[in-house]
Symmetry: C2
Subunit: 413 residues, 2 copies
């Protein structure tokens, strides 16, 4: 049994994590939240109290922390007595925070692969570049490190594992589809950190096809999907973390990720990319100032967390899994539908932050209970999916299934 | 008689000015070229020699100068003995360079209104904000200051005056149309300094209609024009310097400026503007760096002078002037057609730089000869147009006329 959670980060996802941890502080214990700017953490703490989201009286505390500083992070972990760290700061921090968790001997949970500021879309599998080489280190230290425990990656990995366990014994295709059919009412905005969002789409699109890595350009391969609730939606094959672990762990010759984009998004993205404004490499202005164009684009775009109050509509994210079951063709779509407005009313965030922030809290609850406290590094599909989906069912992200037997909520009875 | 020319600036237009001055150094005397970065001036000097553009042996010299520094500019004027300054540096320099010319008692020629870095599209008439308030100062000092002596403003002002002198005695409408039907082969580029280019289009579009200032948004009012050589072209009512002086000096109740834009330009412009990337006001990145978005856009776009080698096609810029002549309806289109490739072959620049850079040299030749050495501040339409157009006819920018009597070169006989 582990307890007390340190949340690293103070953006839209961190806010959801804090609210959800507070709603489950009977299981999780003390909640600490730390980022470079302490006032952002304090604002989140205040919002948790304002919305009455503390399940029971307890500690909910804000801290200033530069999480690139491993010693400072270790010190904060020790000072607070946290045994679980949920890292939802920028993806550039991951390896530093993992180092701190290993040194302090506490559990680590993140929601996205580690990135280096000056590199994008490195060699596949991406987890092989930074995370997996440290698995032995985690095992030796008996440290549980759960990688990519957001929605995608995260819940969609559990969906794939559930499909394999119960619906399709020999898998040929895993197609993960992420559609945001919401409307934020702005000319343009990304739904999470623009820097991370655009970095996802400026590099090579890696997919796993015929049991090998295949390279495409962004927006090169598009397909229409007919989905529950959100209907027919155009999505494009995109690079995404989970493809890189599912390709290794699921034995499926095909793993692809599809992200929904409207024509307007594609137009804005294409203009910015072609002009060089999405580059992570610095340019020099005529006045001699060195600046990374992508960071300026981020500075002019709306703060994704500011979208929440006016965001309407729904998201649908799920896995089409195809293959055979008992020798016969089988196909299943396992998915979740979330609502932007409901998310805002519950925790003050929009649906994209909500779907990303609730799952690592469910993971933390399973680490706390011991069920997922595996004392080594794992991706989510290596863990039993049902306890995870069961908690998510209870804390705001219910799972549904659509197959030849109809479209229905997943039955946990 | 004045002689010896100091060119301020080392961009694409300055290059044309230098080459054209060199081609006419029998009239103009010594040629000096100065900018912050002396190596850029040296590169221009070398290109003049390489292309054999010195008409006769003489001085052609590069200097380092911060033209915001009035004392330094006065010192350079005195040291070089220049009696004519052609200011084709950034529009932010104009008032400093004018101050230096007044102090040194030499002639001043520019090609665009003065701008302050943090302001765009100030109250009309624009010349009333910085230039015209200094007219008395010029007159008292006996200093010739010719404002806006590029193509537009500049030659188009002379076209309007020519129309009034010879073709339309009571003018009702002056519509200046600027079409670039060239192709530079890049995804996107502005044809001159992106910072100045975009600043033209981000603010209010001021036009002079029914003898008063009217405000529109950019791309709000569009119209198709059928022009010689370049054919039917869509153009949009835009703010432009010459509207602000012609409205005062021509007695026409309507003065409008129309700039041709393709759908692709408008799309890129619209995306950048709506995102806030064309703003001249600084933003702060997440890392705390203060940066002006427009300067970053400038940094990622192609250097306009780099377009020249592959630029093909033609420009057509001219004035539709409408009204009555001897009591009967009259209409004339006075225009020039320039060719990007021919410009490059002659002076190593593309056509937009060429049309902007040749006219101030013609103006300098008229100041040198005394014909335009008026010893006060003037806009081009206040000066006799024919000597100007006659020189331009000889040095690369011939004038044509289209009216009820046909489409023909302007006759100077």
């Amino acid at each position: 049994m582990k307890k007390n959670v340190l949340i690293i980060g103070a953006g839209g996802v961190a806010r959801v994590v804090a609210h959800k941890c507070a709603q489950n502080n009977d299981v999780l214990g003390e909640i600490h939240i730390a980022s470079r700017t302490r006032s952002k953490c304090e604002e989140i703490v205040a919002s948790v109290h304002d919305m009455g989201n503390m399940k029971q009286d307890g500690v909910l505390e804000a801290h200033a922390l530069d999480a690139m500083d491993v010693a400072a992070t270790v010190a904060l972990i020790r000072k607070t007595g946290c045994q679980i760290v949920i890292n939802v700061g920028t993806a550039f921090l991951n390896m530093s925070v993992l180092s701190a968790c290993i040194e302090a001997g506490v559990a680590y949970i993140d929601t996205a692969i580690h990135e280096e500021p000056n590199k994008i879309c490195e060699t596949p599998p991406w987890y092989g570049n930074y995370e997996w080489p440290r698995k032995d280190e985690c095992a030796r230290a008996g440290v549980t490190a759960i990688l990519g425990a957001g929605f995608d990656p995260g819940v969609v990995n559990a969906f794939a594992r559930l499909a394999k366990d119960d619906y399709v014994d020999t898998i040929t295709d895993i197609d993960i589809v992420d559609i945001n059919a919401g409307n934020h009412g702005k000319y343009f905005s990304t739904n999470f950190d623009p820097e991370i969002n655009f970095r996802e789409f400026t590099g090579t699109v890696y997919s796993w096809q015929d049991s090998q890595w295949k390279e495409n350009a962004m927006f090169e391969v598009g397909q229409e999907f007919d989905l529950p609730v959100v209907g027919k939606q155009k999505a494009y094959m995109s690079g995404h973390d989970e493809v890189h672990s599912l390709a290794k762990n699921m034995g499926s010759p095909n793993v692809r990720f599809w992200m929904g984009f409207g024509d307007h998004y594609i137009n804005v993205f294409t203009v910015l990319k072609n002009l060089g404004l999405l580059s992570e490499q610095p340019v020099k202005t005529a006045e001699g100032l060195e600046v990374v164009p992508l960071k300026v684009v981020k500075a002019v775009l709306p703060d994704p967390s500011s979208l929440a109050p006016n965001y309407t509509g729904k998201t649908c994210i799920g896995d089409f899994v195809k293959g055979t079951k008992d020798g016969k063709p089988a196909e299943v779509f396992i998915y979740n539908v979330a609502d932007h407005k409901e998310a805002y009313e519950e925790v003050g965030s929009q649906g994209i932050s909500y779907t990303a922030g609730v799952p690592p809290v469910a993971a933390a609850m399973l680490v706390a209970s011991g069920e997922w406290d595996v004392k080594t590094m794992v991706n989510v599909e290596e863990l039993a999916p049902k306890p995870f989906l069961h908690i998510l069912n209870q804390i705001g992200l219910p799972t549904c299934i659509r197959d030849e037997n109809g479209d229905r909520p997943l039955d946990f009875s």
